[in-house]
C-alpha cells in the first residue's frame, strides 16, 4: 500500500459540496428523479427538507448542474439576506438587468411582468431557513405570479416545520424529504466514494462491523460520516508517518481507530 493512499482517502471525505462527489444510491436516486420530474410540472414552489447533513445542498448542486444545460436555472447556496440585494441579484441573473440603486419588491415585480423569457426560470435557494419571514413572504408572492419557479431547501427542525406550515402549506405542491442513510446504504456510500477516487484498498477495509461502528456514531448522517472518515484517514496517515501502522494492519478498520476519530470529531464526548 502506497504511503499516499490514506491521504487520498482522507481528501475524499472533505466536506465540500461538489456535484462530482454525488454518490448514486438507490433510494437517493429515486428521490432525485422525483425532484427532477417535479421541476417539469407547473408547480409554484418545491420544498426540499431534511436534517442537516442529509444531502440537501448536494441535491441542489446536482440539480443545478443537470438542469443548467437545458433551461435557465440559478443556484444560491449562500442566502442573500438583504432584500434589495436579493432582488437586484435575481434581476441581473434572470433578466440580465443591472440595477445600480435600491430595488424594492414593487420595482422587481414590474421587471418580472415586463420580461418575456419564453421559459420559466428555476431559482434554487439553499438554506432558506436563514431568510427573513418578510422576504419569504415576498418569495411566495413571486412564485404566485408563475413567472419564476423556486426550489428551496430547509433544515428539518421544529422551527423550520412551522415556517413550512405558515408560509408554504397552501402554495407548495411538492415536498421532498431527505433522510439519513441506513447501515447498508452507508457502506455503499463509503465504498463508492472511495472507489470513485480509485482508493480500492481502503474501500475494502470497511466490513460490516466497521460500518456498524461508524453508523453507531453518525446515525447515517452523510456530513458526520464524512467528518468521521476524514479524521479516521487522518489518523491512519499520522500513524503511517510515525511508522506505527503495523500496530493496526491494513486489512480492516479497527474499532479503536474509529472510536479515536469519533473522539477527535466530537461525536464521542470523552
Amino acid at each position: 500500500m502506497s504511503s499516499s493512499i490514506f491521504t487520498t482517502s482522507k481528501d475524499v471525505f472533505l466536506d465540500v459540496v461538489n456535484h462530482k462527489d454525488y454518490v448514486q444510491l438507490d433510494r437517493v436516486s429515486t428521490i432525485y428523479q422525483s425532484l427532477k420530474d417535479s421541476i417539469k410540472k407547473p408547480l409554484k414552489m418545491i420544498l426540499l427538507y431534511g436534517k442537516p447533513g442529509t444531502g440537501k445542498s448536494m441535491f441542489l448542486t446536482k440539480l443545478y448542474n443537470d438542469l443548467s444545460s437545458s433551461q435557465i436555472v440559478h443556484l444560491y447556496q449562500t442566502p442573500i439576506l438583504d432584500e434589495s440585494e436579493f432582488y437586484k441579484t435575481l434581476a441581473q441573473d434572470i433578466f440580465s438587468i443591472k440595477y445600480s440603486g435600491e430595488l424594492n419588491f414593487t420595482q422587481f415585480m414590474k421587471i418580472v411582468n415586463k420580461s418575456d423569457l419564453g421559459s420559466i426560470p428555476v431559482i434554487l435557494l439553499d438554506e432558506a431557513q436563514l431568510y427573513s419571514d418578510v422576504l419569504m413572504e415576498k418569495i411566495r408572492l413571486l412564485s404566485d405570479t408563475r413567472t419564476i419557479k423556486f426550489v428551496i431547501t430547509l433544515h428539518k427542525t421544529e422551527k423550520e416545520d412551522l415556517i413550512a406550515k405558515e408560509h408554504f402549506q397552501t402554495r407548495i405542491w411538492e415536498t421532498i424529504e431527505l433522510e439519513n442513510s441506513s447501515p447498508a446504504e452507508l457502506k455503499i456510500y463509503v465504498q463508492k466514494k472511495l472507489m470513485k477516487a480509485n482508493c480500492f484498498d481502503t474501500a475494502n477495509m470497511f466490513n460490516k462491523k466497521s460500518i456498524h461502528t461508524v453508523y453507531k456514531f453518525t446515525h447515517g448522517n452523510y456530513r458526520d460520516t464524512n467528518k468521521l472518515l476524514y479524521a479516521l484517514f487522518d489518523l491512519y496517515a499520522t500513524y503511517e508517518e510515525n511508522r506505527q501502522i503495523s500496530t493496526f494492519g491494513t486489512s480492516q478498520v479497527p474499532t479503536k481507530l474509529i472510536e479515536m476519530a469519533a473522539i477527535h470529531t466530537g461525536l464521542i464526548n470523552a
Binding site: 487522518d234 499520522t238 510515525n242 479503536k256 472510536e259 479515536m260 473522539i263 470523552a270
Partner: protein, 268 residues
C-alpha cells in the same frame, strides 16, 4: 497532524468510562448472588440443623420403641428382663416411653405370669376388669341364642331381664308388653304371644303373633303360634290356608309338620 498520544489517552478514558456501567452491573450482580447464596446457605443450614435435631429425636424415639418391641418376644419367652426401657431414666424422650410402658403392662398382664413378681404396677386390678368383662360377653351370647340368633341389637341389660322368662306370671308379661311398646322389638312380641299361648289366652297370642308378623313376617315361630292360635280359636281352615301360604314362600319343614298335624287332627 493529529496528536495521537492525546487521542489515545482520551480513547482509554472513554473505554474505561464505557466499561464502568458493565463492571458495576457485573459486580452488583455478583454481590447480590453472593449475598443471596449466603442467605440461602445459612437458612438451609438452619433447616438442616432443625431437621437433624428432629431426625435425632425421631431416631431416638424409634430406637426406644424398637427396644420395647424387642422386649415382646422376651416377655413371651418368659425372661424376667422386662425393665430394660426403664434402665435409662435420664433420657430426654421420657414422654414417649410412658405410653409404651403402659402397653407393656397390658401385654405382660395378659401374657406373662412372671411379670407380677418383677413389676410393681397395678396389673391385678386390670386383670380383674378383664375377667369381669368375660362373663358379660358370654351372657350376651347366651341371650342371642335364646332370641334364636335374629335379635342382634338387644342390649345386654334387657337380655338379662328377659332371662327371668321362666316365671310365668302375668305381671312379667305386662312388663314385657310395656318394653315392647317402647322399642317395638318383634322378639318381645313373639315372646308375649308364646306366653299367652301357653297360658291359654289364644286370642291374645293370635294378636301378638299377628303383630310380630307385621313387624317381621319371616319369623317362623310367629307363623306357627299364629296358626296354632287360630286352630285353638276354631278357625282351622284359616289356619291351614295361612300355613299353606307360608310354606309356599318359606318351605319351612316345621310348618309342614304342623300343617300335617292339623289336617290329620293330631293338633286340635
Amino acid at each position: 497532524m493529529l496528536d495521537i498520544r492525546d487521542l489515545e489517552k482520551r480513547w482509554l478514558h472513554y473505554k474505561i468510562k464505557s466499561y464502568i456501567p458493565h463492571a458495576v452491573i457485573l459486580i452488583s450482580l455478583l454481590v447480590i448472588s453472593g449475598i443471596s447464596f449466603f442467605i440461602f446457605d445459612s437458612s438451609s443450614d438452619l433447616q438442616k440443623q432443625t431437621n437433624q435435631e428432629s431426625l435425632k429425636e425421631k431416631v431416638s424415639t424409634i430406637k426406644e420403641t424398637q427396644k420395647i418391641v424387642k422386649i415382646k418376644p422376651q416377655a413371651i419367652a418368659k425372661e424376667p428382663q422386662i425393665t430394660m426401657p426403664l434402665k435409662e431414666p435420664s433420657h430426654p424422650t421420657k414422654m414417649t416411653i410412658e405410653p409404651s410402658l403402659s402397653f407393656m403392662k397390658n401385654m405382660q398382664s395378659a401374657t406373662s405370669p412372671y411379670y407380677h413378681e418383677t413389676n410393681n404396677y397395678s396389673i391385678p386390678s386390670k386383670k380383674k376388669k378383664i375377667i369381669k368383662a368375660k362373663p358379660v360377653i358370654e351372657e350376651t351370647q347366651d341371650v342371642i341364642v335364646e332370641a334364636k340368633e335374629k335379635v342382634k341389637e338387644i342390649p345386654i341389660e334387657k337380655v338379662n331381664k328377659i332371662s327371668i322368662k321362666r316365671r310365668d306370671t302375668k305381671d312379667d308379661i305386662a312388663e314385657i308388653i310395656t318394653r315392647f311398646k317402647k322399642n317395638n322389638n318383634p322378639a318381645l312380641s313373639l315372646f308375649v304371644a308364646k306366653k299367652y299361648y301357653e297360658l291359654g289366652e289364644y286370642k291374645k297370642s293370635y294378636n301378638y303373633a299377628l303383630i310380630t308378623n307385621q313387624i317381621n313376617n319371616e319369623i317362623e315361630a310367629s307363623w306357627i303360634i299364629f296358626t296354632k292360635s287360630l286352630v285353638k280359636l276354631g278357625k282351622k281352615k284359616m289356619a291351614v290356608r295361612t300355613l299353606q301360604t307360608y310354606i309356599q314362600n318359606s318351605h319351612s319343614s316345621s310348618a309342614q309338620l304342623l300343617l300335617e298335624e292339623i289336617r290329620t287332627g293330631k293338633f286340635q
